[in-house]
């Protein structure tokens, strides 16, 4: 679908100077030029490229300032109604993220309206012109896009109904460019949003899928890979990931990866982004372990421990009573460990 309206703003890092809200903006008429084509490509691909569901945070009274500004922009698209978003971006931007060009693109999406906000890092520069026998160096008072492929974007589809536009989809195409993480700068600071899925919900979904594979799979290799990942998952420091990214980060074999994916219902949620929450993870995939004074260590999934081990208390004993544990099963794995 073609873009019908484009507004562009040059934004500076003003997080430490929030009072300076002046931004320069302009309307760009869509044409066949390179810039329009580049923005058109981003606009057309927004539905698939922007794949991180985000949701505006609320003040508990169903209000969010960015959503309010977005609704005002869609109601009456103009440089003036787009400017508050540019000012907001400026005030969320630190020197590390630097100067940027914000493009606000609006166009039809079937019977609805799509808006795409994209920010490209920009810079001023020095140009050196080499002639046959001399070099001319000059500061160029123009702004350059550092790269047309490195940008952050977010898209929303408006159907004009009441209570719309709480949710959108974001993407960070400059995730490896050393800037502040997308969750902090683009989603939280600028958009006043968060991942649509809470850390606990996403992590619980992941843990339950892994646990479900452990419970149902008869493949020892699959179980080994998942057990190793569960132990190592403690080292994931609140990172934003998807279930598929979790599988890939632990180099799951194709059969283990497939086994996990089939346990995620609905299946699209394997690509749903959330912040990993180690405590939540442990809650759902924890192992209960008890150690006896004879050196034995018994371990089983916490929710199945009492099914795995039958215990009986020795008669007459009260405090620190000796207990007998018994279990029956087929040995599927055996290992020697240096620690418990």
């Amino acid at each position: 679908m073609p873009i019908s309206t484009i507004f562009s703003f040059l934004t500076y890092p003003k997080k430490s100077r929030p009072d300076e809200t002046v931004v320069s903006g302009t309307t760009i008429t869509p044409d066949d030029g390179k810039l329009s084509r580049m923005l058109g490509d981003i606009f057309d691909a927004a539905e698939s490229e922007c794949n991180i569901p985000v949701m505006f945070t609320s003040d508990d009274a169903q209000a969010n300032p960015v959503r309010t500004e977005l609704l005002a922009l869609l109601k009456n698209p103009s440089v003036e109604t787009a400017a508050p978003l540019a000012s907001r971006l400026q005030q969320a931007t630190t020197g590390k993220s630097g100067m940027g060009l914000l493009f606000t693109c609006i166009g039809p999406e079937g019977p609805h309206t799509r808006v795409v906000l994209s920010r490209f890092p920009a810079d001023e520069g020095v140009v050196a012109e080499r002639a046959s026998n001399k070099l001319t160096v000059a500061f160029v008072e123009q702004v350059f896009l550092k790269s047309s492929h490195a940008y952050k974007a977010v898209t929303y589809v408006s159907d004009g109904t009441a209570g719309e536009l709480w949710k959108g989809h974001a993407v960070d195409k400059q995730i490896n460019h050393g800037s502040k993480s997308m969750a902090d700068y683009w989603i939280a600071d600028f958009l006043k949003s968060d991942f649509a899925t809470t850390a606990a919900t996403g992590t619980k979904r992941l843990a339950q899928a892994l646990k479900s594979v452990m419970d149902s799979s008869a493949d020892v290799d699959v179980k080994k890979e998942i057990t190793a990942a569960v132990h190592l998952a403690a080292n994931i420091p609140g990172k934003a990931l998807t279930i598929l990214e979790f599988c890939d980060s632990f180099n799951f074999s194709p059969k283990t990866r497939d086994a996990v994916v089939t346990k995620v219902n609905p299946s699209r949620l394997v690509n749903d982004k959330f912040k990993f929450d180690h405590n939540e993870f442990s809650k759902h995939i924890a192992y209960k372990q008890i150690e006896l004074d004879n050196g034995a260590v018994l371990s089983a999934p916490a929710d199945k421990f009492d099914d795995c081990f039958k215990s009986s208390m020795h008669r007459g004993a009260q405090m620190h009573a000796a207990q007998t544990f018994s279990t029956t099963g087929v040995v599927v794995h055996e290992r020697l460990k240096m620690t418990k």
Partner: protein, 233 residues
């Protein structure tokens, strides 16, 4: 959309989308509060077509309809209620809700004046978790939010009886009847206060919170978490 078309559309959604969604939500909420002690019940319901139409047809003082787009503006098409024993348990459940769900609204409903007694409750408007929607769901017809109420047994009991009594008679309540209603609210409020104090004095809240498994309380005749279909939420 005229009222006949609205009713027809709502009935279709009620049977094919909202009722199944309410059932899924019950399971999701139960799973979320599974470790929280002293949950009396988790109940959900899809708003019945009759009640939906009654709400959709509400008019303002100006005579205009309150809801221009009732299908998207009315946010309790699916409603849920979590009933707990003590006031401290309301806070415990609220913490869990904030962990697992994204909210757009939170209201602590209490009487306007400290000298009044009446409706008390904690109301949320929450975003439906994506887990409840199949990949091929028609998302243009599914609601985005649901209402959740978290209440104590006494708050719940009072609001149910009050709703039944206050809205059934055609005539408004007399001053004496209103005063009697407020008296029962005061008793429910007082009972919650005393039970809260007792649970703290007796260390019930502390001991059970620290041991969720031990704290799971089976209600007579039912499991630790019960569900029951109901209409008014």
């Amino acid at each position: 959309m005229n009222d006949d078309a609205l009713l027809a559309e709502y009935k279709l959604r009620y049977h094919t989308i909202l009722q199944p969604l309410a059932r899924k939500l019950t399971e999701h909420l139960q799973g979320s509060v599974a470790g929280v002690p002293r949950i009396d019940r988790v109940a959900t319901r899809a708003k019945s077509p009759d009640r939906f139409m009654a709400k959709a047809q509400k008019v303002l003082a100006s005579g205009a309809r309150k809801y221009a787009e009732p299908l998207s503006q009315i946010q309790d098409l699916v409603g849920a209620r979590i009933i707990v024993l003590y006031l401290d348990d309301v806070e415990a459940v609220s913490t869990v809700i904030d962990t697992y769900y994204r909210r757009v609204e939170l209201r602590e409903l209490v009487p306007e004046s400290p000298n009044e007694f009446g409706y008390v409750g904690k109301h949320y408007i929450l975003s439906f978790p994506e887990d409840l929607f199949e990949d091929d769901a028609d998302r243009t017809r599914t609601p985005e939010f649901f209402e959740l109420q978290v209440k104590t047994l006494f708050q719940h009991a009072w609001s149910e009886a009050e709703h039944d009594l206050r809205y059934k008679p055609e005539e408004p309540l007399t001053p004496l009847q209103s005063r009697q209603m407020a008296f029962t609210a005061a008793q429910a409020w007082g009972a919650d206060q005393i039970f809260q104090a007792l649970s703290r004095e007796l260390g019930v809240a502390t001991s059970l919170h620290s041991n969720p498994d031990k704290g799971r309380r089976s209600m007579p005749g039912g499991p630790a978490i019960r569900t029951r279909p109901r209409q008014p939420l």
